[in-house]
């Protein structure tokens, strides 16, 4: 009976499958962006409608912000592994703050696009509408990402077992780094298609 209990404990604490769920979710979400960018290529290629604009500089700033947030996320994970929980929380808070800043900068980017450059979402050249779709769908993911970060923070304040803490941190890192890489992909994609 004892062995059985031990066995079941192992069943219960096996978090690997749950982590794998996160990876699969990342794949699924990647497919949305792959589909949208492929849609862009089909649209732009078939109609000779290129973007025909210079992307506002604000996107360079937002890109650096989200790259920086990946760095703080990494620092948070490392601190968690080294049992430095105060530093872990600090870096997590920083990541959340940078995430929110990224969100604000992206929305400011929309403001510049519409009010300064006259490039609207409702647009006979749908290539330009695609900018809003890419950034908008990505921002939706950012909102979800911030919630995942906050849940990792919550766990770290609740003094849960270290295994759970690390698991939550890993889930948050996988997702947050994915969002970072996804934005870089989208940004480079848009830059390459500017003309």
């Amino acid at each position: 009976m004892m062995a059985q209990q031990v066995h079941q404990e192992k069943d219960r604490l096996d978090l690997a499958p749950k982590k794998f769920v996160m990876w699969l979710f990342v794949f699924a979400s990647f497919m949305i962006f792959a589909a949208l960018t492929s849609g862009f290529i089909v649209y732009a290629g078939g109609h000779g409608h290129a973007l025909n604009l210079r992307l506002p500089d604000i996107f360079i700033y937002s890109t650096s912000v989200i790259v920086l947030s990946s760095l703080t996320m990494f620092m948070a994970s490392r601190s968690a592994k080294r049992l430095e929980f105060d530093r872990q929380r600090l870096f997590l808070w920083l990541t959340v703050a940078l995430g929110i800043l990224f969100f604000v900068l992206q929305v400011y980017g929309w403001y510049i696009l519409t009010y300064k450059m006259g490039i609207y979402f409702v647009n006979p050249n749908a290539s330009q509408s695609f900018i809003y779709v890419f950034t908008g769908v990505h921002l939706l993911h950012i909102v979800a990402g911030i919630m995942v970060l906050l849940s990792a923070l919550y766990i770290s304040y609740r003094n849960r077992p270290q295994a759970i803490n690390l698991y939550r941190m890993e889930i948050a890192s996988i997702f947050w780094h994915f969002l970072d890489i996804m934005w870089i992909y989208l940004y480079v994609f848009l830059l390459l298609n500017q003309n």
Binding site: Q4, Q5, P17, S38, F121
Partner: protein, 630 residues
């Protein structure tokens, strides 16, 4: 809190009692918000059956219209009100019926109802795991599905009726709310429902893949998995890769409908008024839709293939013919399904060279499909066949897959397709190859695993035979004549054939089809009665009623959290050791070690096990010596 965890917690406190005494489920946690994969499987199945019945009734309604286009049935007005003024179906409501019938059957019944039921039930039971990777996400998957179903059906209760642009919802028709009744609020509800549905499908699929890859019991390597699990696993991968693409397509469609963008719209004149859209491309939607849509038909058929493989092997009392070939052809189908979507678009003005490429990839899919078909036939060949209802439905699945698949080769040809596109030939093709075949696979699964779904009850065999024969014959009577209509150029989705003198000669055939459909519909009453009454009054089954090898039949008859009391059984062999020469019984469950079956072992059982091979050789030598003495 997961109820699975709760059980383990209790187990730790008083470990003298058996495992099964530890449930403290309330009605809500047991039947409604259950996180147990077996209960979720039942929820999916019963919701799926309900949706199937609704979709079937819709199809009978439009079949009546097709057979008697000029007759009025006052009863229809009583039932449908403004949708059937004067007892004749409203033409736009006819289009809605076709649309919702297709949507419900493809997505709600054959995707969620089929994968949702059997992946949920069989992946943990056949792989040997306590539950899914994330039981909570699994529960969410069902509730998203139910929400999607409710929203889809709710569209019948809005002023202008449900969506009417066909299940493929091509723009511009679907993108312009004012274009027709079915493009208005009904279409919006369709889109919302599908977003929920995709969420459900993704959550389910992610769970299935993670469970198969991470949570198999000891000894269960990938090449010891039953073909059912292989099929569900690859189906889930297809879903994870293709459904997000539909999300992208649907999001852009929503923007076009409600925000005024021009992704899909260009140069539209609506009711004499020039619309402001310009520069969009409706073909773009077709690319995005069919990049999902084509893998989707394999999402529909592959679980049915897996179920048929298992049921046929068990009931032929023979190992499945070409196990590895079966797996590789499933993998081949999975891969190829992503590069054939263009064959739905041959007549969109596609570059003929590109059409040729899509034609070749499409025809290549015939190879793995044929491999599977021949393997099923070779499994049945000279088998010691038990004609259980499940076996009949599995054979029916193979039959439909062959007769529907053959016409796929015609349609996959980009030149022939110019003629056949959007005719009844297409309707006949896909209703046989993915409609009837998948439904028969699903029914085979229901009859076969009923004792696992409803704690050791069996469905009535006689009613099962009745159900099978009527459905089988009527399905052929419904869909086979449609080939000839299609070859004659009769287009699909037309409201009344009498409006076109050249189609008048098909009236008698339409009447035959409609009456066959009604008869098939009545046969389902036998199934429904059988299914629901057997839950309470079905014959009691033994733990392993079909003498099958797979792991689920080693689990106790009564359901319990965690599936097995105590340790999960270890697996020692593949699941198809039926009628192995030298063994006294005609089946050897996966849990029986080779050391207990010395008389039936073969050298290839020890391929990567030199110690075992040595023992085997020693045993053979000793055995021969004994024979010599005799």
């Amino acid at each position: 809190m997961s109820s699975t965890l709760a059980v383990h917690g209790h187990g730790a406190e008083h470990h003298d009692h058996g495992h099964e005494h530890h449930h403290h489920d309330t009605f809500i946690t047991k039947y409604v918000f259950s996180q147990d994969h077996k209960m979720i499987a039942k929820q999916f199945l019963i919701t799926g059956i309900t949706m199937a019945v609704i979709a079937m009734i819709l199809s009978l309604l439009f079949r009546i219209q097709l057979a008697y286009p000029d007759k009025s049935f006052p009863l229809l007005e009583t039932l449908l009100g403004r949708f059937a003024p004067g007892g004749r179906l409203d033409p736009e409501f006819y289009l809605s019926l076709v649309t919702i019938h297709g949507t419900i059957m493809v997505f709600f019944v054959l995707t969620a109802g089929l994968s949702g039921t059997f992946s949920n039930l069989l992946i943990p039971l056949q792989c040997g795991s306590r539950d899914m990777a994330s039981p909570f996400v699994n529960m969410l998957s069902y509730w998203f599905f139910l929400t999607a179903s409710v929203i889809m059906l709710a569209s019948f209760f809005v002023q202008k009726g449900p969506a009417g642009a066909g299940w493929t919802i091509y723009p511009p028709l679907s993108a312009l709310p004012k274009a027709m009744k079915g493009s208005d609020l009904g279409m919006t509800l369709w889109l919302i429902s599908m977003v929920c549905f995709i969420g459900s499908s993704l959550m389910g699929g992610i769970n299935y893949v993670s469970t198969v890859l991470n949570m198999r019991t000891k000894g269960m390597d990938l090449w010891k998995m039953p073909l059912t699990v292989w099929a569900f696993f690859l189906t889930a991968i297809l879903g994870i890769l293709s459904f997000p693409v539909l999300v992208a397509g649907v999001v852009l469609l929503i923007f076009d409908r409600s925000f005024g963008t021009s992704f899909y719209l260009s140069d539209i004149v609506l009711a004499g008024k020039v619309m402001p859209f310009s520069g969009g491309s409706p073909i773009l939607f077709q690319h995005l839709f069919w990049f999902l849509g084509h893998p989707e038909v394999y999402i529909v058929i592959m679980p049915a293939m897996g179920i048929a493989s298992e049921v046929i092997a068990v009931n032929s009392r023979k190992p499945i013919f070409g196990y590895h070939a079966m797996v590789y052809s499933l993998i081949g189908i999975t891969t190829l399904s992503f590069i054939v979507w263009g064959h739905h678009m041959f007549v969109t003005g596609m570059n003929p060279f590109l059409g040729g490429v899509f034609m070749i990839t499409t025809l290549i899919i015939a190879v793995p499909s044929a491999v599977k078909t021949f393997n099923w036939l070779a499994t049945i060949w000279r088998g010691n066949i038990r004609f259980t209802p499940a076996m009949l439905f599995a054979i029916g699945m193979v039959s439909f897959f062959i007769s529907g698949g053959v016409t796929g080769i015609w349609l996959g040809n980009s030149a022939l397709d110019i003629n056949l596109h959007d005719t009844y030939f297409v309707v006949a093709h896909f209703h046989l190859v993915m409609g009837s075949a998948a439904i028969f696979g699903m029914l085979a699964g229901v009859y076969h695993w009923y004792p696992k779904l409803f704690a050791g009850r069996l469905m009535d065999e006689k009613l099962g035979y009745l159900h099978f024969w009527i459905t089988f014959i009527c399905a052929y009577l419904v869909f086979f004549p449609m080939h000839f209509m299609g070859l004659d150029g009769v287009p699909r989705r037309y409201y009344e054939m009498t409006a076109f003198p050249s189609f008048n000669k098909w009236m008698s055939v339409n009447i035959l089809i409609t009456w066959s459909a009604i008869t098939a519909g009545l046969a389902q009453v036998a199934f429904l009665y059988n299914f629901f009454s057997s839950i309470w009054f079905g014959k009691r089954a033994t733990q392993n009623p079909w003498n099958a090898n797979t792991l689920e039949w080693t689990a106790p008859i009564e359901h319990m959290h965690g599936n097995w009391p105590g340790e999960i059984p270890t697996v020692y062999r593949w699941p198809y050791d039926y009628s192995k020469p030298g063994h006294d019984a005609d089946f050897i469950p996966q849990t029986v070690p080779l050391s207990e079956t010395m008389s039936s072992n073969l050298p290839h059982d020890f391929e990567d096990n030199p110690a075992g091979l040595e023992q085997y050789n020693a045993w053979v030598k000793a055995h021969k010596a004994n024979e010599a003495v005799k």
